[in-house]
Symmetry: C2
Subunit: 185 residues, 2 copies
DNA sequence: ACGGTTTATGCAACTAGTTGCAGAACCAGG
DNA sequence: CCTGGTTCTGCAACTAGTTGCATAAACCGT
């Protein structure tokens, strides 16, 4: 039940059309909640039906025509309710750990196959990390510390710390691999 | 397409019945790939139909009767194939970040509601962290460093590091909250 | 031997997310 | 103008995961 609230948040920050939302979900919000355009359009329909958002009246709604939405008071209230409601952390779902465990269970041949992909992941996470660090430099210079900025920065820090975890852990994993006896690789 | 492979791994480590698998998915493997008993039974049926596993012939299969499975060579091969195949990291889906961003967009009332749940999450992650640390003490004493042990330990380290990230970040977040001007809380 | 709890397996329906495709408007070049 | 690519919206079908319930054997105290 998170996607509708992700969309409400995005629309609250700035009224947008479906495609604009899709683009914004490819970065920014999408860093921690991704969505495809089909999900977004479907959800926009539901949210409109429920009276949480409405199409901006400025243009007639026709196919192939931009249709922008804004959040209604009811939508804002629902978002506030959801944000304040207590939620349990969901268990991880991480295939890399699974594959490592599978490799251990299989033995020699299993271990050999996975090393290259670990390297690839390390490279990807390094890239993501430096992307986040650029954003930090650009969007959060020393002076910017309104309550809003502080919260946004906090979220970005989480992204940076997570990517830092990944690069460290993957580096450590590859070192371990290097030390394994040859017949296990 | 990860659940069947998680099950194959578990069965490779030790042939088990559906319920035994369910219990094992509540800990150990479940720390990074959770599954309910219904998912498991369904998947066991599919895996058997595909010839990847088979029921141990020791007991007649009747309702309310334990039925244990073991991995067949075809299943082992499939697991090795999957493990070695390159996979992209999936984008995070983290509601806590989403809720924080929503709180920022809503303003004062939004920020107020979420603080208690951050504290609760911090407590939960602290608990998980110490659980992992106990497992490390118990299962990985200094001497244990066969290739298998090293890989298992590596996975556990990832869990420990992730929980460490969460406790640190949540602590930091709560400190930031404390510094926000009163009308924003 | 009886009735209640626990163990073990499973079906059906639902929710969330993904993939593939298609159709209308809009824009640029001949 | 018309044609062919791009933008924008959307439907339909599929896969993965969740929730609620059913059913039967086993186990256990009386």
């Amino acid at each position: 039940m998170s996607l509708p609230h992700a969309i409400l948040t995005a629309l609250l920050e700035k009224p947008s059309s479906g495609l604009e939302l899709t683009r914004r979900f490819d970065k920014s919000i999408g860093y921690f909640w991704s969505a495809t355009h089909q999900q977004i359009y479907r959800e926009l329909g539901k949210l409109e039906a429920e009276g949480h958002i409405r199409a901006l009246p400025s243009q007639q709604p026709a196919r192939g025509q931009k249709k922008s939405y804004e959040v209604l008071p009811a939508g804002r209230a629902e978002l506030a309710r959801w944000t304040a409601a207590s939620q349990d952390p969901k268990p991880y779902r991480e295939t890399l750990f699974l594959r490592l465990r599978a490799a251990a269970a299989i033995g020699t041949e299993g271990v050999a196959g996975i090393e290259a992909d670990l390297r690839r992941h390390l490279e990807l996470h390094r890239r993501q990390l430096s992307e986040y660090e650029e954003i930090e430099q650009r969007d959060f210079p020393p002076g910017k510390d309104s309550p809003q900025d502080r919260l946004q920065h906090l979220i970005l820090r989480a992204g940076i710390d997570l990517e830092t975890f990944w690069t460290r852990w993957l580096t450590h994993a590859l070192e371990e691999f290097a030390e394994l006896p040859d017949q296990s690789r």
